[in-house]
Amino acid sequence: MSALLFTFGYRDRAMGSFAEHPAAAGRIIRRDLYDFDDINLDDVSVLLFSMHADQRFLAARAGRIAEFVRNGGTVLANGHIAYPFLPDIGAYTPAPGQSLKHLRIRRVAEHAIWKGVNEDDLTFRRGVAGFYGRGGHQPPPGATVIHTVGQDAQPVDFIYRLGAGRVLIHGGNDLWQYGGGDSTALIAPQLIAWLFGDSI
């Protein structure tokens, strides 16, 4: 089974590195988002949507995406959800301020994708807070929240089940952008293992 990583008209270096990551063993295939209607999803196990995705386009295909998940597929969506292209997710709420108390990332549940990833490495990039996520979405009932941001504990990363499938929401910059010279380098290979594995 393979994963489709949807591109959006211009090259994105982090996306390319992720698709070509050795742990993916060629299973991550890049396709133009606007080819979505022409793609047979029967042989696909994962859909990967960047923060740069045209959500207006996706929202018009929300039924097909939900059906894909209910039938056992996995969806990872990055960025803020502005149009309802996935079921049961509440609106994005930005952090109420820009200080560290509003931007600190906290782990509230352990998860294989972030095993060994330091919370401070998520909170700070070169000493600056805010790149990982600056707000959160209201998750559906029963969702597993992994990370929150700020003193309001807004959910940044959460996973929920839908039918036989699962949805991972990362409400910030694309998860595949992380992997510098710190513990965030663990995210890409562990994310790939999760995408092609069975655990939630």
């Binding site: 008209g9 959500q55 207006r56 930005p94």
Partner: protein
Amino acid sequence: MTLAVLDGGTFYHHDTIYGPRYRANFHRAIYVRELAPRDLDGISLLIVPDRINPDQLRAHHQLLIEFADAGNTLIVFGENEAETWLPGAVWASRPTNFWWWLEPGAKPPHRLVDPRHALFEAVRFEDTIWHFHGVLTPPAGARTLIDVPAEGDYPGGALLYEDTVTTRGRIIVATLDPFYHHGSGFMPATTRFLDSFLPWAKNQASSQVVPARDGAARKP
């Protein structure tokens, strides 16, 4: 005469265009996949925000050029591969220093080439300064407003220019990407830039003399 903006359907276009802060500046928002000639009727200034899918812009480039050639103003922001669909623009990549502002005493290389341009009566030069991904060589006869010098093996070039020679209208091209950064909720300089730039653009749109379809100029 009015101002229109293209919408790429991303969350950051949504937040910047439809959010309460700037919504009143745009008389019309057009989803780029649905852009049709009739959408530009009565429009004198069209903004192509940064990070609109360049495949869409290449597909619609003739309509955009004809819009400018009718005597209107076309404003094109960065990360749109403008060099692949806008006549005369040449692009050269530069390594991006996202972090220059963390370096003690760092001075950004941006230069205000044309401080007398009317844009800078509204927009502070300091609010046009953030990281850049490359530089443009404008077509001959265009007016560079902001540039950066060459560095090592990397060429210098324009970050903002105004072209009134390629068409009978005006094309303003920037490498800046404020819609993305403001809509994502980071980089306050981009918000300060839009706070002054969009009212300026709206004012330009309402005061512009637009040629009628028969070619005779008329006042709005």
